[in-house]
């Protein structure tokens, strides 16, 4: 048997209840190569890798590590085989320093701190990591935490690294640095797997691409032979038009004026710092920023869900032309004034929908209270649920199935569908396409564009800069609760936005300045 493979998985199947997450998937990972695992959400990318990392155990199939069949029953087994996985949600102890997190759980015999630090330093130098070992995790940026996770895994002796959507939370500059590190790891002979659904990254970094679709193995191609079109087709199963039809904004009118808006978040930190901007009807205003930059508070303040400290939000009614102050009004008061404010919040099941309820009952959420009857009227929401299921292609056993049982993409379709159905004057979306497959993403972009043409003022908070650049008319960039700039989406570049997102010169670490301790 060829032992050039670091990992070989044969006919691996995993089911959850009646859902088949992976069906007879076979794949190989070579030493010293970067393999991209490409697939839409729900295609089973993370599941198959979780089986390698010992988090799930396959229902059937074989796993060979360095040519030997192994059974990986726990993350500990995986560690012993040199497999390390960096999950989307970091598993770090917040109140520990970087060094403490790396050593954690490794104490065999006496702890020689000096030797440990020397080894960490050696790893950092070898692969090009930059990290402050004495910095506490709660003071770290997302990118630093990710770096720490990777160092931790390498320190524990991993030769096979799996990164689950590593770039989802990074700025373009941070992504570039991560890719450099990954290339260094490849050069050192490690096998690296990147789980992703971003095509340009696949083409940029990987040697081979393995594509999964709906839990099944589609194929593996060498990256140098691959094109974006071809990969999309393999991923989706049919040809997809990857163009966003951006029309020039017509007849824009002032719809929403935000003036000097400030607010504190639950921890009492200033989350929005003196924000002023105007959103026009008939235009898509993109909002970019690293997660936690105040985007959530901004939308919630406008929706009447967030207590504000100062400032005002003026809504200009398109039909009457009157100006109405929104600050200080609850969502119900705003609705009763006849202001159609639609909001797709980031937390779909925790805020936008009720997980234990079916589509019908979720349709009622926004206007169940419209008429003054004691009993709920389920006929209209049922009709709306059927329509949305039909038009957006929501995959659900029935419109009465609890929405928490649906996949992330379908949950989002339900939410976006409901919000758009109410013919809004302002549409606010936070990460509207997060977790959605390409097809659905593009149908959501189209829906948003339709709203724009209807004269709706759209506020689009997004994380994918490529999409922001091709969908929006203007892009507002937030950094740490401050407005760092509003740019024209047609003329700006990814790099410019990336810099505005971190608002500092070259590296994000510098200039943060908080909680840093002096070096030795």
């Amino acid at each position: 048997m060829e032992t050039n493979y670091a990992v070989e998985m044969r006919n691996v199947t995993k089911t959850f209840g009646s859902t088949v997450a992976n069906k007879n998937v076979s794949l190989t990972i070579k030493k010293g190569e970067i393999l991209s695992l490409l697939g839409e959400n729900g295609s089973g990318k993370t599941t198959i890798m979780n089986m390698l990392a010992g988090i799930y155990f396959p229902d059937s199939g074989q796993i060979f590590i360095n040519g030997r069949e192994e059974s990986i029953r726990s993350p500990k087994d995986a560690f012993n085989l040199g497999i390390g996985m960096i999950h989307q949600h970091f598993k770090l102890v917040d109140i520990f320093t970087a060094a403490e997190n790396i050593i954690l759980g490794q104490a065999e015999g006496r702890l020689n701190k000096k030797a440990v630090r020397a080894r960490i330093k050696e790893i950092c130098d070898k692969y090009g990591f930059k990290i402050d070992l004495d910095k506490k995790v709660y003071n770290m940026s997302v990118s630093e935490k990710q770096t720490l996770e990777i160092i931790k895994v390498i320190y524990r002796g991993a030769d096979i690294l799996i990164l689950d959507e590593p770039t989802a939370v990074l700025t373009p500059q941070e992504t570039e640095r991560l890719f450099n590190v990954i290339r260094n790891m490849k050069a050192a002979g490690k096998a690296v797997v990147i789980i992703t659904h971003k095509l340009h990254e696949v083409l940029e970094i990987s040697d081979r691409v393995t594509i999964l679709r709906k839990g099944e193995y589609v194929g593996t191609v060498n990256t140098r032979d691959a094109t974006e079109m071809m990969l999309t087709e393999m991923m989706v199963g049919k040809k997809v038009e990857l163009n966003i039809d951006r029309k020039e904004p017509r007849n824009t009118v002032k719809r929403l004026e935000v003036r000097n808006l400030s607010c504190y978040n639950r921890e009492g930190r200033l989350a929005l710092d003196n924000i002023s901007f105007t959103a026009m009807g008939g235009e898509i205003l993109g909002i970019a920023g690293i997660s936690g930059c105040g985007e959530k508070e901004l939308l919630e303040s406008i929706a009447g869900l967030q207590k504000t400290a100062t400032g005002s939000v003026i809504f200009s009614d398109p039909s009457t032309g009157t100006d109405i102050e929104l600050i200080g009004k609850s969502p119900r008061v705003i609705k009763n004034l006849g202001i159609a404010l639609s909001f797709v919040p980031e937390d779909r099941l925790g805020m936008g929908l009720v997980g234990s309820m079916g589509m019908t009952e979720n349709m009622m959420l926004r206007d169940y209270n419209k008429d003054g009857v004691v009993f709920v009227n389920k006929a209209n929401p049922r009709h709306l649920a059927e329509t949305i299921k039909e038009e957006l292609g929501v995959v659900t056993p029935s419109i009465n199935t609890p929405v928490s049982r649906l996949s992330g993409g379908n949950v989002q379709k339900v939410l976006v569908g409901r919000e758009i159905s109410s013919a809004p004057a302002v549409l606010m979306t936070a990460y509207a396409v997060r977790g959605l497959d390409i097809n659905t993403s593009y149908s959501i972009y189209n829906l948003i564009n339709e709203q724009k043409e209807r004269g709706v003022a759209v506020l689009y908070v997004g994380e994918d800069l490529d999409v922001l650049l091709s969908l929006c008319d203007r892009i507002l960039v937030l950094c740490g609760g401050k407005l760092s700039g509003i740019v024209d989406a047609r003329t700006t570049t990814k790099e410019e936005i990336g810099l505005l997102m971190t608002k500092s010169g070259k590296t994000p670490e510098t200039g943060e300045g908080k909680g840093e301790t002096e070096d030795e």
Binding site: F16, E69, R332, S356, E361, L365, Y368
Partner: protein
């Protein structure tokens, strides 16, 4: 393929089920009850040296049977009476629990309802009011007192976000103290330290016999409450709001629901129905008031509400089971001269198995497959 002996699956793996058809759920429950009876039989045989079949027969007799027709009728009517009171309390908890407001104060809310009932019974018993009017006034008083006892923790929860479990629990003790003060106040005969049977000769404020049934009115009240609460929770806007608040307060705010208002309103209802249970307990069953009028049923109701998943119709089945076990247990305790604990152990075993069956309904177990010869 090479044969590998080092590859081992874990012995037992658990996976979550997608859902289970209703018949399968019922089957699991039936099997669990049979298993429970089996285990209890072992306990009965080895610890008390009695014949388990005899013991079970006696339990059945205690709840639904009897040596003669009169005894049987008496047993059944007592069983039905107890079911009504417990069911009312379970129904009272349903809206609060659906809102994830852990009302552990049904005991106190029922007692306060009972105190109000007894107070009006004593004060207006000789006023010459027609009995139906007196009953309505008593019921209104009980609803008011129960609702106030539910309102207090609700306001604290809504405004200052206090812990409702602790708060409602402590309110029970306050209610007990108030009750014992009232008992001392209304003592009759003097020095007995009990209130005695109120209006024994005039029967003013007692539930009348309905359709020849001593507890006819109890049944009617329980049935109305059960059906009304079902409709309230499933079909009304307020019921919808309760479900949304229970699932996620953030979603409720997003939908423009005033969380505070819903908490307060729902606890008023929950407390009010508990008050009705107190009214039924005093005017329809005991005709007196004491600190043990609720008798721990406010807590048993929590089990009822949970086992029934807050569905008021399932509560009927659960209360039936629990009351059957209680009645049966006290019957075997007296007949076989066992102490109460032996009977309670049997009850405990059966409840334990029923709770355990939840596990098998939620999860599926996979055992390591036998190695197949390749």
């Amino acid at each position: 393929m090479s044969k590998e002996t080092s590859v081992k699956e874990p012995l037992i793996r658990l996976t979550k089920r997608d859902g289970m058809p209703v018949w399968a759920k019922i089957l699991v429950y039936l099997v669990s009850i049979l298993l429970a009876l089996g285990v209890s039989a072992l306990f009965i045989f080895f610890v008390t040296k009695l014949n388990p079949v005899d013991v079970y027969k006696t339990m059945w007799q205690g709840a639904f049977g009897g040596i003669s027709d009169t005894v049987r009728k008496l047993h059944i009517s007592v069983t039905v009476r107890d079911i009504c009171t417990l069911l009312l309390l379970g129904v009272a908890l349903a809206p609060a629990f659906k809102m994830r407001f852990w009302n552990c104060g049904a005991e106190g809310q029922m007692l306060m309802g009972g105190v109000a009932t007894a107070f009006i019974m004593i004060k207006l018993g000789n006023s010459g009011l027609p009995n139906w009017l007196l009953l309505i006034i008593m019921c209104a008083g009980a609803i008011l007192f129960g609702a106030v006892w539910g309102l207090i923790p609700a306001v604290f929860k809504a405004v200052w976000n206090t812990n409702e479990t602790l708060f409602t629990l402590m309110m029970n003790y306050v209610a007990i103290q108030i009750t014992s003060y009232c008992v001392a106040l209304w003592e009759n005969p003097f020095g007995s330290n009990t209130v005695g049977i109120i209006n024994q000769s005039s029967r003013a404020g007692w539930f009348p016999e309905l359709f020849g049934q001593r507890y006819g009115l109890n049944i009617i009240i329980a049935v109305i409450a059960t059906v009304a609460m079902f409709i309230y929770l499933k079909k009304t806007k307020q019921g919808y709001e309760i479900a949304v608040v229970g699932e996620s307060k953030n979603t409720a705010k997003y939908a423009g629901i005033s969380v505070k208002k819903v908490i307060i309103r729902t606890m008023l209802i929950s407390g009010a129905v508990c008050g009705v249970a107190g009214f039924v307990g005093v005017a329809g069953v005991d005709h007196t008031i004491s600190t043990s009028t609720a008798g721990g049923r406010g807590f048993t109701a929590i089990i009822v509400a949970w086992l029934a998943k807050f569905n008021t119709f399932f509560m009927v089945a659960i209360t039936l089971l629990i009351i059957f076990l209680n009645r049966g247990a006290s019957e075997i305790a007296s007949k076989f001269a066992l102490n109460e604990y032996a009977a309670n152990i049997i009850t405990g075993i059966i409840l334990f198995f029923i709770l355990g069956s939840e596990f098998f309904i939620t999860y599926k177990m996979h055992f390591r497959r036998k190695v197949k010869e390749a």
